[in-house]
């Protein structure tokens, strides 16, 4: 055979005529989802009518949220695996430091009974919705067309696992300090029966069956999470601070960093989708409208819970107002104000 003249490639040919050297993030994230490649008979190299091929066709390829080039999207944090474990190992060191400091002072033994009862109602049961949200992030990752989205969603699922790790650790601490207060025992009952949690329960249960990938992204990441994370991390944390529970406050504040990162890429993705195709705004708005009553109810329920914190000093209405404001800001970031 004749010796071909080697083409001088500097990076993956998939980048096309790129004028710069792609980043480590792009080299390890760009264009990996071959199941969404062009010129294919079906997503998977199997009969086009297999259940999963039909699932991907219905909920991904035929989604109202569509775009010719999802791989043009970039996570503003440019998260790679290496960066992720580096970042989170550091955050976990901080968590460990905080726990160590407060345990040395026998912090929990000095909390008021009233506050402890409140934590049992407001903090510890959140592991149920957290897990459901973890499942939704995993779902978005399992079905998105672009590896840029898939990786971001995988990190988001891991962040939720981290959140539950912290909540479970805190629950166990309280159980040890207050063995008769029902910690580690009562949370499921609270989650299933306490009126303040039921609207959120309804929202996350129904979000679990929002199988269109665009709808799942819109409902959970653009609508539900900004408000709910604000209430369960920021607002609850502030209440803890006021109640003298610095440990809970610091832990929740730390977790809010993960939530902010999730919001950055989710809103950037919505902006990108709208910029690529204005029809996407119609789809996003339609989903937001459809889900708004359920999310309003969830916010109202959690606001009542937060406002019931001993010494909270804020009424339910004020908390709702703040959460609504946060939600508006998130939607504005998403180009959906």
């Amino acid at each position: 055979m004749t010796e071909p003249q080697p083409r001088k490639l500097r990076t993956w040919s998939a980048f096309g005529d790129i004028k710069r050297v792609p980043s480590e993030y792009e080299i390890g994230t760009h264009g990996l989802n071959y199941t969404a490649r062009k010129d294919r008979k079906a997503a998977l190299e199997s009969s086009p009518t297999t259940p999963v091929n039909l699932w991907l066709l219905t909920y991904r390829d035929k989604s109202p949220l569509s775009c010719d080039d999802w791989d043009g999207f970039r996570d503003p944090d440019q998260m790679t695996y290496r960066k992720y474990v580096e970042l989170q190992a550091e955050q976990e060191n901080m968590i460990e430091g905080v726990i160590e400091e407060y345990e040395a002072k026998s912090h929990d033994a000095h909390l008021s009974g009233e506050w402890v009862a409140f934590l049992g109602r407001a903090l510890c049961p959140m592991r149920y919705p957290n897990h459901a949200i973890q499942m939704t992030q995993a779902y978005i990752g399992s079905i998105a067309a672009s590896s840029y989205v898939i990786h971001a969603a995988a990190f988001a699922a891991a962040d939720m696992l981290r959140r539950n790790t912290v909540v479970a650790t805190r629950t166990r601490q309280l159980q040890k300090a207050w063995p008769d207060a029902g910690f580690g025992i009562n949370e499921r009952g609270t989650w299933e029966t306490d009126p303040a949690w039921q609207p959120l329960r309804r929202a996350v249960e129904t979000a679990l069956v929002a199988y269109d990938w665009g709808e799942a992204l819109t409902v959970v990441n653009l609508a539900l999470r900004p408000a709910v994370d604000f209430l369960l991390l920021n607002a609850l944390g502030e209440a803890a601070d006021k109640a003298g529970d610095g440990l809970t406050w610091l832990l929740l504040s730390n977790l809010a960093g993960d939530s902010a990162r999730n919001r950055r890429w989710s809103t950037a993705l919505a902006r990108y989708a709208i910029a690529q195709c204005s029809e996407n705004r119609v789809a996003l708005v339609r989903w937001l409208k459809h889900w708004q009553p359920r999310i309003d109810d969830a916010v109202a329920g959690l606001a009542e819970l937060v406002a019931s914190a001993p010494g909270a000093g804020a009424t339910r209405e004020v908390v709702v107002k703040r959460a609504t404001q946060v939600r508006r800001e998130a939607l504005a970031e998403a180009g959906l104000s």
Binding site: R7, I27, G28, A154
Partner: protein
């Protein structure tokens, strides 16, 4: 006082199931995606992973590993190690990167599927770590492959391969899409972590790491060894899933395990077999492919499956016999059809190499030697065109590999022939009886055209070698050629120096 021990809070963290009130459980865990099958939902709640890890432990351990792996990469970047590597060995790289990098990515999707649709909280949590692991493997593999693009465009296929219709990739997609994406979460756990990762991944990674070290390729050895250290953690998802399935539906478990093993073995015969017995420089070969399969797959695998009450697969003797044949046939095919691959196949049939092959495979000369003799004669006569293909071989409707590669021409037990099946007025062709049986039982999912069928039904235009290469995405700068530019054939111009040789 340090952070409390994992055991103290771990069960609280996985106590996250509740009774759905606003939706049906069947809607949250649909059979298509979850696959509870004959086992009731409650049975799956006993799922428990044997080896536990927490989030803080995970990120701390993995940070260390990442730092170490990238430190070696950075160090070796400044060395001339790569330039000194044997061209045949580089083909091991290239084949590995192309076949594996995006399958690591596909595994993220499999893990996320289990993280969403797995039937127990502990399972879903372990799968999140699994997804992170696979994300690591994807990015690590791509980062290492990317280093070499400037020197050799064939490394571009680490990223590009699965976006093409290259015939080996179509076969790989049929396998990996088939057991990593098409099934429900339960079936994925049996097929991917249990059957594939505990068996074949070990084979590919452990064997290649050893050969890489022998070949002086510290970078590649560093990368795949580091990846291998993650496998045990997420591979364990298979065991608890299998335990539950064996109690409620052992026939389903047996079928999943048997078909996955067979199809994986077929693909590994092309991915790993030639790498170990032909591409790795002779001086660096420690074990033959067959020896590795016997040690790492056969013994361990049979021990594992029987410990769960599974039976030896129905095709076992045919698989064992195939260790003398399949990869030699496939290697011959790959070398002959070398413009259709993205690496440079090392023929690996110099006189010394043939002596080695004969020592490991006593029937090698009888089955394959005479074909190579003919090729060598053509090479030495300058008739390279006679050593190149003019069309495609007929492909198996199940494994998508050439008919005849589960056999050899002089093999009385497994002669080259097509195992046919008439169905709905169409004749399907298979490389072997097990492939035919798998197709028949899974015909609703297996039903897709081979590349040859696409050629015959007008999907590939023009229907010439050039048209086929274009369809496969092969460009002239990437098409494979003989690794040593046929230099190895020159010694055959003279008779052997010693009769004893």
């Amino acid at each position: 006082m340090a952070r409390m021990k994992r055991e103290e809070w771990f069960d609280i963290a996985s106590d996250v199931d509740w009774t759905f009130k606003f939706v049906d459980r069947e809607a949250v865990f649909p059979e298509w995606m979850s696959g509870k099958g004959k086992a009731p939902f409650e049975a799956w709640l006993s799922w428990d992973e044997p080896y536990k890890i927490s989030y803080p432990e995970y990120v701390a351990n993995q940070r260390e590993k990442e730092t170490a792996a990238f430190a070696v990469k950075s160090l070796l970047r400044r060395s001339k190690t790569f330039d000194q590597l044997d061209e045949g060995w580089k083909s091991v790289h290239k084949a590995h990167y192309g076949a594996v990098a995006l399958i690591e990515f596909l595994a993220i999707l499999s893990e996320l599927r289990m993280a969403r649709f797995g039937l127990a909280p502990k399972w879903r949590n372990v799968a999140v770590f699994g997804a992170l692991d696979e994300l690591r493997h994807t990015q690590l593999t791509l980062a290492f492959a990317h280093e070499h693009i400037k020197e050799d465009p064939q490394y571009d296929w680490a990223h590009k391969a699965y976006h093409t219709n290259e015939w080996g990739i179509v076969a790989a997609r049929a396998l990996f899409d088939g057991f990593m994406m098409n099934p429900n979460a339960v079936d994925i756990a049996i097929q991917l972590p249990f059957t594939f990762e505990t068996g074949f991944t070990n084979m590919q990674f452990v064997a290649l790491a050893a050969d890489a070290l022998e070949s002086g390729d510290l970078n590649f050895a560093n990368m795949i060894s580091s990846i291998q250290t993650d496998e045990a953690r997420h591979a364990q998802q298979g065991h608890p899933t299998l335990e539950i399935l064996m109690k409620h539906d052992p026939d389903r478990a047996q079928w999943l395990v048997d078909k996955t093993f067979w199809l994986s073995a077929r693909l590994f015969a092309i991915l790993t077999g030639p790498a170990m017995d032909y591409y790795t420089p002779l001086a660096q070969r420690r074990h033959s492919y067959k020896e590795f399969m016997q040690e790492w797959i056969i013994e361990q695998y049979l021990r594992t499956i029987t410990s769960y009450g599974l039976k030896k697969p129905w095709y076992w003797q045919e698989f064992v016999d195939g260790l003398d044949t399949w990869h030699h046939s496939l290697h011959l095919g790959v070398w002959f059809w070398r413009p259709t691959v993205w690496w440079k196949p090392q023929a690996g049939v110099s006189r010394a190499e043939r002596r080695w092959l004969l020592s490991k495979y006593p029937d090698w000369e009888q089955h394959f030697g005479w074909i190579w003799d003919q090729l060598i004669e053509n090479v030495n006569a300058g008739r390279i065109d006679k050593t190149l293909p003019e069309t495609l071989p007929w492909l198996c409707n199940t494994c998508q590999l050439p008919i005849g590669t589960a056999a050899s021409p002089s093999n009385e037990k497994y002669p080259i022939r097509s195992y046919q099946l008439e169905h709905d007025g169409y004749t399907y062709h298979f490389c072997s009886k097990p492939c035919r049986q798998i197709w028949w039982k899974d015909r609703d999912t297996q039903h897709m055209k081979t590349i040859v069928e696409r050629l015959l039904t007008g999907e590939i235009n023009p229907p010439t070698v050039e048209g086929i290469l274009g369809y496969m995405g092969l460009t002239p700068d990437v098409m494979g050629d003989d690794a040593y530019k046929y230099r190895w054939a020159e010694e055959y111009r003279e008779p052997p120096k010693q009769a004893a040789e």
